[in-house]
Structure formats: structure tokens, C-alpha cells
Assembly symmetry: C2
Homo-oligomer: 504 residues x 2
């Protein structure tokens, strides 16, 4: 009899223990098996994989070069040693003082222009936290509700959630029971409650207030529950003011486009240009920057002439001319161009109206001219710019047009975009690519071959005019010093260590 | 005897069942109880919390207004009805055609200027996926290794992982066994293997290549394993070209600062200004934009005078002057200012060298002048700008200096930043705030009171000079039409529905 009772009691105890182990609390139990790195499955799996050889990874480089896993600083290699010339800046080697000054300016620049926190954040698996990973933005000094915060998990006796920030403070917009929320109005908010439901309800009503007026910045917020932490970024940003241009009731070319040019003593060529423009566009505004020694007044309606100090310079004149434009687009022309039947500005306007391009160039006479620019980060010696013939790819929706980086001096462009890049007035005699290099990261450039402008022939029969042309050519001749100073300027200003380009 | 055996057998069965339920597979078992919204804990918890009343949430508005949870469009309210005047644009009401054109320009603007995808992404809890949530950036047409992708979880018989994108394609840089990877070089990459270890090793070696040349864009990548999906953003961006200025070996004021001004017929005042500058800064460059009818040549070293079409205008002249600056900073002065002992430009340079400010103003004579601008998104009628006396907060490290939005016409500024905003040449007679409105989102503005410039007195004893002053004043008098056209311009150009400001 005793054994029977013993067995029965034992059965009951064991059965109860069994069920208790299954149902520890009200709710559903789900068993999970977690693999950690230290505990490998008992069946051995060979997961070792070989890296592809470098020569099979060239397709990952946009110009078929070596792909360096994004890690290495750019090097001043020649892309194709048969075809490319190589210009390297020597300012650094010749003058350590210049290099040191450049370094200081660069440190200052980096501090002000750091892209919103470059930190790479990885979302961890098997976390009970939900939180926003993208799209949280607030204006400086304003407040927002933080979306998506919650703890999905095991409720303990004391649940504590903590939020921390550095550029702003937290608050709650709901009335909370005493002792639950600490740190309202501060950079660290703590929420404590035995009830996860209450904590989650509060988390739905937490605000972030940015406390410093900045144009563009980020805050890194830390969201913590027990041993789990998640990080996310809040963008603090003043939206850039909108700038629109009124095309006018008739959407005419005259309301949309201003022609800009610079002249230096070659008035005869300038007058031919203007004459040719008027054949097709009698009312379009023409703005002329003039740094000739003796000014000849250019008369006529819709013409604005500006005089500059003598020989002030090429890019100074270009910057002056664009600064006076009041229309949505500007058309750059050199003073020795000539409009023809093929110079249909409407086609260029259509490209800029219907695509994301900021600037679209077209051929001058027979010259087809388009180059790509590749810009890569370097090291203490500087960064690299590589230029390559041709285009990146066709322009969607516009056969005959491509996306590129550098075009010739006949282009239509969004006025404001050109202002934001500018023609650096320090380039006095010759410069061209420098504008497009300055435009890297700002201007989206295209090139279309269905529009053309003519180029007035060099050499004049008239003796006096020929003298003018010779005078002009003398000013344009770039001596060795000017060439060096142009490179030195780019070395410092754009913090480059080399500019590699096609042999022209 | 039979019962004893029965008990024993039963005990053994129950014990085995108990242990099997604990240890289903090799590894560690962790029991978790998941709460879902539908299954509430059996102990009832009142998690309902009351929203604080709106009048207790005013602290969330940067100007103590109603906080609208970031949802409502701005309204043209008067911030404080006793103190503020109210300008509302009527162009929309008077002219539906203008409003329609503005709408079309705005649609176009939005398409080109959309901030990297505004989508709010929430990381889901209890996911076996790890993935990057921030910091993944690639240059257009370049390739990067995607960091942090892995599946941490239960291995099934057929594990399938899928990656999808829209602006680029995926590849792997490791040799993979046949049939495991599909879609290399395409927008959808699939990885299938019975071994999660192999899948995870491949995921460590997946590249993303951007396929379209764009200045700034985003791709939304979807990462999927069984029923789990995670989304993350890849930023596609050409880094903006660096622009540095060489301060020269001696870091002198002359190498750092150019003085810019505009003159219109008041040459007597201009000469007094220049004289006063030369007392303290004998070699600083002075650039003069001149739209007088009859030009008087201003002679002297380090002076550059530019002539414009007669009465071309105030902001046109300002834009011209700044376009010619070759130094890191420019100092704006009006032609009737006067330098004094207190006009220490070195102090203003120090502020811009050591803080994030782009522009710092200072008082003219006794006038202290600083206004904040608040910019809020509206609706189809447009957006809102509110201006308020005073400053946002002090400038860190500079007692006597504050952060604000609008200052008077005596300021030192970073040349390039001013270029990128520009003085809109469409404002011919009177404009001031318009520059700072255009600068919203671009310029970080400050104001310091430890530097001053003098203001030449109005009214001349000399009869001829007095006539000049009267002529000048006549041009400056803003008639009703001009005032209306200035508002209409801002209505269209900045897409505003109102500009509310202090009563001066």
C-alpha cells in the first residue's frame, strides 16, 4: 500500500513540475534556440569562401580600375598609361608652408562641413526594441514626437527604459504617474514602471526638442532597456528656402533665358555675335561684362553692358555677368560665337525643364566636347580628380543627350545653380575645367548634340582688326608661371594632390 | 507487483518527456514569453494616459506658440496680436494665373530637390536580421560592400535570403557554390543554402553598385529572410568639392577680407567712407559697384570700381560687388558708413574663424538690429515666415555675440556662402530682409556688439551736395507699387503665403 501512494504522489509532483516548466506566466511560450558564435552546430559545415581575384572585380570600379573595397586613399595613378597625361601639383613639395596652411584650412573646413554623422549603425538581431532608423527630422529649436519607440518583451518587476541625446532634450506629452518619468526637459530621460504597457504608452508620447540653432546637424539617440541598446539618428535641419522663377504668362524664351558673355577688346566679334542673336531672338536680354581698356559702348535694346577694371580677368568677368541675371536660365556664349539656324535655345530649355540637369552644353561648330570627372578622397597629401573622355550614360528621355561633367563654353544653365558654384575670380587669364571641378557635387551636367552654335573664324582681313586679334592673343597666352599658378590654386583651393586627364 | 511496475514505467516516461521538452536540439534553449497586442496579461493594468492640455505644451514651440504635433500646416497667425503687423500676399487672390504658374514651378522644384527619401523606417523587434540602419553611402556609379548583413536564427532546410534595390545592383566578391546565388549584377539578389553559415559568409561579401549618375539621391534596400523583412537606405552622393582660401603667410586682414559696397551718385559720402577705411586699413581691397548716371572715377590703390547700367539697382549692385571678391571673407558696408576706432575687423574675423557662423553683423552707430526668422511648411497657399525681435541664443565662446537670422548692412561673411545665396538682382530699389529670407537653410547668422561702424549724418550744408542727397532720396522712396511688387516677388519666388513680422 505504501509504494502505491508513493508512486501516485511522485507522478503528481512530476506532472505538476512538467506543466509548470511549460507555463511559467500567462501568455504564450515560444521556444527559441539561439546560436552564438561560440556555440557552433554539431554537424560541421565548411562555410569558408574564397575571395574573387582582383582582376575579376574590376567591374566594380566605375572606370574599370582596381576596386579597393572603398578603403584605400586615391592614388595618382595614370588610368591608362598609353593615353593619359599626368599633372601633379608641386606646390606641396616646393613649399611646406603652403601645405601646412592648406592643412589648417582643411581642418577648419571639415569641422564646419561634416556630413550628418558618418557613423555606420548596425541594427542588432533579436532585440525587444522597436525604434526609428530613418526619417526622423526636426528643425532647430523645434520639437517632434519620436515615432516607433517600444519595448516588446518580457516584463520584469522593475522595467527601466532610458533615452539619451546630446543636441537636444526629451519630454513627454502625457500626464504620467508619480515617480515613473525622470529627466523631463533633459538630455537623459528614464522611464520606470512594473508595467510594460504603461512604459510603451509613454514611449508613444515622447518628444525630442533640439536645443541649438544649427543649419544642418545630427543627434545620435541611444535607446536602452535592460541589456539591450539601440541607436538612431535625428536630423536637425533648417529646410533650405525655396527659390522659384516666374516664367511669365507666355512662357517665352525671353522670360526664361538671359544670354551672358564677356568681352575683351574684340568688339568687332561681339557685334557680329549680337547681330546673329537678334536674327532669331530680337528681345532676349544680353548681359556683357567688359574689362577692355577703352570701352566701346554697345548700344541696343535688351543689352546691358558692365565695365570692369582693365584686364580684371576672364572668370571675374564671367562671375560678374552671371550675377546680373534675373531669369530662371542663363546661356553662356563666348564673344566670338555666332548664332545659326541650328541654335535653337528652345531645345536646351526643354532639357532643363524636363530633367534633373542643372546645366546642358552643346557643340560649338564641329567641336564635340564632353568629359567625365571622377572625384576620390585621398590622404594628407590631398584628394584626386580624374577626367575621362565621354559621358557617364545617356540622358533618360533625350536621345542625342548624355550625362557628363565638363562641356564647352556654350551651355544653358539654371541661374541659381551657377551662382552657387561661381566662376572663381582668381582665375584671370585661362580657365575652363576649374568651373566644373568647383561644380563637383553641385552641378548635374549634360550635353546634347541636337543644338549647335557657330564659331567665328580666326584671322581678320582688316589690318586694324587683325592687330586687335593679336593683342587679344597676347593676353591669352599662358606663360609657364601662369600655368603653374593655376595648378597651385587648384592644389590649395580644392585640396587636390593630382588632376589626371586625357591627352587632348 | 503490477502497480509498482506501472508506476515505475510511468515515472520514466514522464521524466523523459520532461527532459525532451527542455532540450529539443543541440544548443541553448531560452524560453521567451511574447506579449502581443491581442493577448494582454491576465492581471489588468490601466495603461491609459491622459494627454497634457495644449496650454501646458507651449514649451514645445520655439516661440511659445501652439505646438501642433508637427502635423498642421503653418497658419498666418499673428504671434502676438498687440505687437505684430501682418503682411499677407494678395498676388494669389488677385491673380489666379500667377498662383497656377507658381504651383507648376513648385511641382518641378519638389521633384528635383526632394531630400533623400523622407520615409520613416521603424526597426522591428525580435527579428533574426542584422543590417545597417545608417551611414551607408556610395558615390554614383561606384560600388561598396554593404556592412552588417546577417541572419541570426533558426536554420531551416531551405534558407532563402533576398536583397532588392531600385537605383543599383548587387554582386558578390566571393566565389560561391553553384546554384546558391542568383541575380548577380541585378536589382534582386537571392541567396539559397541549407547552411546559414554559408549564407552569412556570402552576406559579408555583398556589394551594391549605383547605376545612375546623380548628385544626391537614395536607394531603399529591402532585406528579406522567410517572413522577416528589414529596410534600409543607401545614400548615393557626389561629395561636394572642397573650397579653401589661402590666408597667406602672414594671415593679415588684407589677405582675408575684401570690403564691398555699392554707390549711387553720393560720391561725397563714398569718399569719406574710403578715407575712414584707409586710416585703419591702408591696403585692404575695396570693391565698388556703381550704377550712377555719370560715373566719377574713384582713384587709389586697392580700389576696384565697376560701372553698371544706370539705376540698374540695389541688389544687382550688391550681387556684382560680391561676385568680384577673391578673399575668404567679404565685409559689406553701405556707402555712407564711416570707420572709427571701434571698427575692429579683426574681432569679426575671429568670430568667423572660430565658430560655425557664415555671417556676423555688428551695430551701425547706435542701432542695434537683430531679428530671428522662423520658416514653416504650409499648404497649397504657400509656406510661412515669421520674424521676431532678438536672437535664438548666445554664441558659444563669444560673450557679446548671439545667433540670429537678420542683421544690419554691416557684416563680415564667408564669400562663398554669400555667393550661394546671392543678392537677387530683381530687387532694384529697396530690399534687405529678402537676402536673409533667401539665406534660410544656408546661412548661419550671428551678431556681435563689440565692434561698431559709424553712420555719416544725413543732410549736407553744401547746397550742391544737398541736391544730390535729395535726388538720391527720390530714387529710394518706395511707392505703393514698388512695395506691392516686392511682396509679390517674395510670394512667388519663396512660395510664401505670409510674412509676419514685428511692428518696427
Amino acid at each position: 500500500m505504501q509504494l502505491k501512494t508513493y508512486c501516485l504522489v511522485f507522478m503528481i509532483i512530476v506532472l505538476e513540475a512538467f506543466f509548470i516548466s511549460l507555463i511559467l506566466r500567462p501568455g504564450i511560450i515560444e521556444s527559441r534556440i539561439l546560436f552564438t558564435d561560440e556555440k557552433k552546430p554539431t554537424t560541421p559545415v565548411d562555410s569558408h569562401l574564397k575571395l574573387k581575384p582582383l582582376n575579376k572585380l574590376k567591374f566594380l570600379s566605375p572606370y574599370g580600375g582596381d576596386w579597393t573595397f572603398g578603403r584605400n586613399a586615391c592614388s595618382c595613378r595614370i588610368l591608362n598609361s598609353d593615353m593619359f597625361t599626368y599633372d601633379k601639383f608641386n606646390a606641396g613639395k616646393d613649399n611646406l608652408a603652403i601645405k601646412k596652411r592648406r592643412g589648417l584650412q582643411y581642418e577648419q573646413y571639415k569641422k564646419r562641413n561634416e556630413s550628418p554623422a558618418k557613423k555606420v549603425i548596425i541594427a542588432q538581431p533579436h532585440s525587444p526594441l522597436s525604434y526609428p532608423t530613418h526619417g526622423v527630422e526636426v528643425k532647430p529649436l523645434y520639437s517632434i514626437l519620436i515615432p516607433g519607440l517600444a519595448v516588446h518583451g518580457m516584463e520584469g518587476e522593475k522595467n527601466t527604459v532610458k533615452l539619451t541625446a546630446t543636441q537636444g532634450v526629451f519630454n513627454t506629452i502625457v500626464e504620467t504617474p508619480d515617480g515613473v518619468v525622470h529627466g523631463s526637459g533633459e538630455q537623459e530621460l528614464t522611464i520606470r514602471s512594473p508595467s510594460l504597457a504603461i512604459i510603451n504608452n509613454i514611449l508613444k508620447h515622447v518628444t525630442y526638442t533640439s536645443k541649438k540653432y544649427q543649419i544642418a546637424s545630427t543627434d545620435l539617440v541611444s535607446f536602452q532597456f535592460e541589456e539591450y541598446t539601440a541607436e538612431f539618428v535625428i536630423l536637425i535641419r533648417v529646410p533650405p528656402m525655396i527659390r522659384l522663377f516666374d516664367p511669365g504668362p507666355d512662357n517665352s524664351i525671353d522670360s526664361l533665358v538671359t544670354i551672358v558673355t564677356k568681352t575683351f577688346i574684340r568688339y568687332h566679334k561681339l557685334r557680329i555675335l549680337i547681330s546673329s542673336i537678334r536674327k532669331f531672338y530680337p528681345k532676349i536680354m544680353i548681359i556683357i561684362a567688359d574689362d577692355s581698356k577703352v570701352t566701346e559702348k554697345i548700344e541696343g535694346p535688351y543689352i546691358q553692358q558692365y565695365t570692369m577694371p582693365f584686364a580684371k580677368g576672364w572668370f571675374a568677368g564671367r562671375n560678374l555677368a552671371i550675377s546680373q541675371v534675373t531669369t530662371k536660365y542663363l546661356l553662356w556664349v563666348d564673344e566670338d560665337f555666332e548664332f545659326t539656324q541650328e541654335t535653337k535655345l528652345e531645345k536646351l530649355v526643354e532639357v532643363l525643364e524636363k530633367t534633373n540637369l542643372d546645366l546642358v552644353g552643346a557643340p560649338v561648330s564641329q567641336d564635340v566636347f564632353a568629359f567625365k570627372l571622377w572625384y576620390e578622397e585621398g590622404d594628407d597629401e590631398g584628394d584626386c580628380v580624374f577626367s575621362q573622355n565621354g559621358s557617364f550614360h545617356p540622358l533618360d528621355g533625350f536621345p542625342g543627350c548624355v550625362v557628363t561633367s565638363i562641356v564647352v563654353n556654350f551651355f544653358l544653365a539654371k541661374t541659381e545653380k551657377v551662382w552657387s558654384v561661381g566662376f572663381d575670380p582668381r582665375f584671370a587669364r585661362i580657365a575652363h575645367t576649374e568651373f566644373f571641378i568647383d561644380g563637383i557635387g553641385s552641378l548635374l551636367v549634360g550635353y546634347c548634340t541636337n543644338v549647335k552654335v557657330g564659331h567665328q573664324k580666326k584671322g581678320e582681313k582688316d589690318k586694324a582688326l587683325n592687330e586687335v586679334e593679336n593683342k587679344y592673343a597676347a593676353f591669352r597666352r599662358l606663360d609657364r608661371n601662369e600655368f603653374r599658378s593655376r595648378l597651385d590654386m587648384t592644389y590649395f583651393k580644392n585640396r587636390l594632390k593630382c588632376y589626371t586627364r586625357n591627352r587632348v
